[in-house]
Every structure is written in structure tokens, then in C-alpha cells.
């Protein structure tokens, strides 16, 4: 069970959160100008490391803010947690 240290709510159980996936992806700034290649990379080709991972979590049952969390996908050790949009 993960205890995610929310900057507003403190250590909270993973069941309060919704997972948002790889935080390394960047939505093309101008969707109309983006190539198919760029869209596919954004949508489908994400980092999948066995180790440190930067990822989005939404505190659905708490402060309802999006967080960017550093987590090791092998040991589940949590690193820095910050607001995705300060």
C-alpha cells in the first residue's frame, strides 16, 4: 500500500488517489500543427522504467489537485512530491 505525502493533506492512502501515468509526456502545444508521429508518441509511447519514475497522481478524495510524484516502480519508494501546476 502506498502512502502518498500530499503537500496539502499529508500522508494519504493510495486508494484516495487516481493514477495519471508518465509525467514525462508533453501534450503538443499546438495540436493542429503536431505531426502524427508526435501525437502517437504523446499518446502511446511512454516511459516504462523498472526503477525511478515521474508520474501524475490526482488526489481525487482529498484536495483534488494533480501531483507529480517520484516513485521507484520496483521498490515503491517515494521521492519528491510536488504540485503538477503550482
Amino acid at each position: 500500500m502506498l502512502l502518498i505525502p500530499c503537500p496539502f493533506c499529508g500522508d494519504r492512502d493510495e486508494t484516495e488517489f487516481a493514477y495519471g501515468g508518465d509525467a514525462g509526456t508533453e501534450r503538443p502545444a499546438d495540436p493542429g500543427a503536431a505531426t502524427d508521429e508526435a501525437w502517437t508518441d504523446y499518446l502511446c509511447f511512454h516511459d516504462n522504467p523498472k526503477g525511478p519514475h515521474r508520474e501524475f497522481w490526482f488526489h481525487r478524495d482529498g484536495c483534488r489537485r494533480w501531483l507529480t510524484v517520484e516513485r521507484d516502480t520496483h521498490t515503491h519508494e517515494l521521492g519528491a512530491v510536488r504540485l503538477s501546476r503550482p
Binding site: L2, D13, D22, D36, T40, H46, K50
Partner: protein, 421 residues
Amino acid sequence: MAAMQRYSIFSLLRGALSGHRGWQPAWRAPEPKSSYDVVIVGGGGHGLATAYYLARNHGIANVAVLERGWIGGGNTGRNTTIVRSNYLLPENQRFYEHSLKLWEGLSRDLNYNVMFSPRGVINVFHTDAQRDYWIRRHNGMRYAGIDAELLTRSDLARLVPALDLSPAIRHPIVGGVIQPRGGVARHDAVAWGYARAADALGVDIIQDCEVTGIDIQAGRVTGLQTSRGPIGAGRVGLAVAGHSSRLVEMAGIRLPIETHLLTATVSEPVKPFMDKVVSVAAAHVYVSQTDKGEVLIGGTLDGYNSWSQRGSPARLEDILSAACEYFPRVSRLRQLRHWAGVMDMSMDGSPIIARLPVEGLAMTGGWCYGGFKATPASGWCLAWTLANDAPHALNAPFSLERFRTGAVLDENGAGPVAWGH
């Protein structure tokens, strides 16, 4: 190479009368040769099936299967053993139905009892919308020539007496569907049977051999670096389930795959009380009773990328409470063990059985929840792809390019969210 010792009622009797001292090992333990025509990475069901069909269907027997651990010790031994072909999309229907037909003859084919038990796979539903969806899906199956039946509540009461059909529960069951030819098989036996049959055709099965690098020269695969030294290869097939993205990374390739955990749990053994596989739509929990009498319960993903192989206790609680809700008599059973397998979740929920953008390199992976039932057809198709350097019509839709062209196979309509399938 000694001829394979064939198993039969007579060999069993001979064994029984001679104190079971005459049994040979089911496969050899050879030292790796310096090179092979084809090397398969991954000695699970899919890799071993690939080697078997390469030798049997295509006459390519100078083949090695490299396994990091031991045969049957990976995801082959962590699934919930369900076999079915109840899909809606025609590409999936054709592929999984081909697989089911291979299952039906597999024990004879391999001269090994894989204990395939076509006991019927039932899905129950709780709302009108779910009912419409399942009827549509099963009508689609019938249209494709696959067996499928609609079940009323009284059918369900007759077929699965253990199921709680009372209207008093939180999400009452209003009906169900069944694929009668679906069922379960003994998962270890599938790996062992394919290993033994492939070995008999001349395939080298090399255990305790981890791949640490993929050699590529001028855009073509030439061999593998392994913990047991370099091994040359004309072609390489990858069948490593949850570790697909890590392995292809060695060849500089990215996959539309994320690795997630799926929890399953098994109870202490009890007398037979349920001879069907039952999947409950409301909770995404699926329950069957094994031949040993254990109640085997599979659930849904933890929901975030993980390679830890330790499932979340929160998810385990979900799975067990759903099982107790719909099968009240399991509530007092002790759980013997639970485990979480690493799932290679693809972005459309369908697998990739395809050549990769390095010549001579192909893979089967991205199996999400559904790899076990696909074992025979996955091996059959990857063998074809490696032998002909081109996909068969059955696996052509499961390409890597589909994510770029948009021809995705999103059975659930969930979109490009790996944990949404």
C-alpha cells in the same frame, strides 16, 4: 539424441509396476551452442510454443529457447488458467478462436496431458446496458461461428448453484452469457508439454540463462549476449511477457506498453462445488475451482506502473470482498497464497505479435490480462512470422505500426490508457 519416451496408459502401468524408476527427464539440459538459426528469449508457454511450432510446422529445429529462471517459473505459473475466445472484434475473434482450436487438440499433439477442461466460461451482468453489451458481443461471436449462449437467472441457478442470485445484494445479477467450449487448463503442464515436445524435435532448452544484450550489425540482429556467454542467432524471437519493454530497449526500440500488476489469490482446497468459470462484471473478479479443489480468484490491476510483483493489499481486499459477495460460501475459506504478476499492458489492450524495426527480430508481447489462453496461437503465429519473415494473416493486425496508423484493436474502447484495459 534419445527418442522421446512416449506417455500412455501402458507406460504409466509399466512405471507403476517397476517402482517408477524408469522415467527419463522430460527434456535435456544442453550447453548452449555458439549459434542457432533461431533463438527464442523466454521459456514460458509462448516461447516454448514458438520453438515447438518452428520445428514442427516449419522444419526449423536448430533453435534454442533461453530462460532466465526455470521452465514454468514465470508468468506461465501466475495466471488464472482461463481459456476462451469470447471477443467482439473480428481480428481478436479469429486469433483467439484459432488458439482455442489448438487447445482442443493440444494434449494429443504434445503427447502430454495439459488437462484442458472445456467446462464453460460464464460472464454475469447486472444492468440493462451490460446486458446489451454482452448480447452484442456474443451475437458477434455467433456470427463468426464461435459458440455463445445467453443465460437467464434460472439457467445460472442451475449451472452455478454457488452464485448468489438474490435481488438483495448491492449489484444483483440479472443474467449472463456462456461460451461452452471455454474452460481452464493446467498452466505448468502447458509449459512442460511444449518444452518436452520441442526438445524431442531437437530444440535446445537452456535454463538459468539471462539475456543481457542484443547484438545488431547494420540493422540486423546477429546474436545475443547472455549470462552464459554470447550466442549467435540468425533470427531472434522475444516472448518475455511483462519484461518486453526492458528487452526491446536493448535493441533501441520503444514499445507502447506499460508494466502493471495483476493480483490473483487461491484458497485452501475444498470438495468440488463449482464446475464453471464465472466472471462478474460489477467487480471484475473471476472465479473457478481448480482440479485440486482450490478456489482460484483473479482480479483487476493495481492501477499504477509497477514491477514489484507485490500486489496492493487494497486491491486484494476488493477482489476478496467481491468474491464473498457473489459466492457467499467462499467467505470462510482461508487464502493459501496470493501473488501479483507483472503485466505488459499495451495501449489498446491487444497484443503485439510482429516483426520489430530491426531485421530478424520479432516479438510476442503486450498480452495484458489475456496471455495464457493465447499461448498456442501466439507461438504458432510468432513461429510463422520468424520462419517466413512476414506475419500470418492471423497476426498481421497485431502489428507495432498500428499505434501510428490508428488501426488499433481496442476491444473495450478505453483509449490509449494502459491501465484502462
